[in-house]
């Protein structure tokens, strides 16, 4: 399993467009991927889970992936967050 901590920087957090970009990116990988926020684990491939997670600007989360492409998956998602979803 690969995991990495990252802080959400874009103004709207994982909301609306960023949430769907995040889920679509996660969906490209075979690994099981989870976002851990304050001990709760959210399925990164679930748009409803991510949006309901209330991950706003300044929240620190951990991205965990397990599977064949786990390293690539974590890297891609962390990069998306660090790039502020292209905002």
């Amino acid at each position: 399993m690969v995991k990495k901590e990252v802080t959400v920087l874009n103004a709207t957090g994982l909301h609306a467009r960023p949430a769907s970009m995040f889920v679509q990116t996660a969906g490209k990988f075979k690994s099981k991927i989870f976002v851990i926020k304050e001990g709760n684990s959210i399925n990164a491939k679930s748009i409803m889970g991510i949006m309901a997670g209330g991950i706003s600007q300044g929240t620190t989360v951990e991205i965990q992936a397990e599977g064949d492409d786990e390293a690539e998956a974590v890297d891609a998602l962390v990069q998306l967050i660090n790039d502020k979803f292209g905002e």
Partner: protein, 575 residues
Amino acid sequence: MFVKEGIIASPGIVIAKALVYEKIQVEVNKSKIEDAEAEIVKFQNALKKSHEQLETIRAKAVSELGAEEGAIFEAHAMVLDDPEFVEGVELEINDNHLSADHAVKIVTDRFYEIFDQMDDPYFSARAADIKDVGTRVLHNILGIVQADLSQLDDDVIIIADDLTPSDTAQMDKKRVMGFATNIGSRTSHTAIMARSLEIPAVLGLGDITETVKSGDLMVVDGLTGKVCVNPTKEQLKSYENEKLKYQNYLKELEELKDLDAVTLDGRKVELVGNIGEPNDVAGVLKNGGVGVGLYRTEFLYMNSEVMPSEEKQFAAYRSVLEAFPDGPVIIRTLDIGGDKKLPYLPMDEELNPFLGLRAIRLCFKEIGLFKIQLRAILRASVYGHAHIMFPMISSITEVRQAKTILLDCMKELDEEQLPYDKAVKVGVMIEIPSAAIAADIISKEVDFFSIGTNDLCQYTLAVDRMNQDVSYLYDPFNPAILRLIKQVTATSKDNFFTGMCGEMAGDPLAAILLLGLGLYEFSMSALSIPQIKKIIRSVRYEDAKKIAQAALDMETGEEIMDFVKDSMKKLNLNI
């Protein structure tokens, strides 16, 4: 015949036959099932069918309504693929022995509630999407076919409890002339759809589906928020008249929208809009307003169960400022008390609430609350031309006190290294007679004035216009009011302007007087902007000044009103 009143969701007037669109009430099978595998297959088939339907609807929505509307159905398809949804339903079937339909309903309701309870309007809208998708899957499991609105033979007004994206996307847009629904608000899907189709809509009518029958002739008046069912001949005639008037207004709007508000002899003034929430910005832009002359921030507080946070306020102010990259946005600080109360801020009963603890006075007592708002405005100020306006100012001392608190907020932001516009404009609302009389003194501390005529009249004439026995005394044309306005506009210095945000600013009969009195900025409800612009563009400033001067010497409001009407006739101005 009967008339009902609801929420205005989209303007315009339409007269057509009603079509009651009834939703089928779904009964799910609540008994325990034995063959879980069969239920899973039913669920999987329904998912597949839902995917196919959504693809068809999406294509139709994109071609008829544009990519943005099509994106709603892409989002719906994402819900169908969502592992939390799919696995959640399968779990209910396998572990709890629920039928496929029951499981879908339970999982859909669970997500619906999570989203519905978030106070962010974006998420409330997603709640409706989830319900829409859930209902689609449910119908497909149970083999229910919803009434078809895609081929209509007649022009109709759709009557429904509420309309979902799935309902509106499949509609025959050429035949659908208006909406009237039981529930809904200005931000619900039905309202957004009606505005984008440019058809009138009145929502929140309570029981319109119960009281109207398909085929009834009805009027939806999206200007006053009324619907009239089976109108009398006279009513019909009057509505046809109103409809024509509105069409003329739209034509005028088209001609005037992008033109400056400038007199024949070159005096340029500013026409801006009054708004209560960020959504109102669209109307101001559409009517050619160049900015916002009064942002009533109290709605942000009144529409909330808890005190709105600095972040929430910041986001609202920022979105309004960003809508006007070149124009001013005057944000009035909290004006609560008097007749406006907040559920989460206990206030004592007062004998004389309008002379009591309200607006800036309340903010001085609740400094914490005041500072949250000032910080939010300051932080948003870097996104446009923010103007901060203090209400209910009676003397220069209060202005200084408010500015001291503003300065404290600036210092805090400096320490936190948060950016704000250091040259943010500060002004006051002139609505208490003492402030009008001492305008020259108060002007030393501020960058602008905005005259609030509603309260200025109430306080100057000592009249409550809600009291029918004395409301006849309420008269903005009263010579005393005109003289006070003159006293305020006479205060002029470099980099200073005087505006007005009371109802008088949008009154076509007052426009020439106010122009002649030297008013620079007119702030009004968005719909009034084209008409006032037309008047401004049809007169000479020199003539307006003469008219105003003559009016100042008259004895009664009636005399002044007649004189203005007469002068406008002479200038060939029909209103």
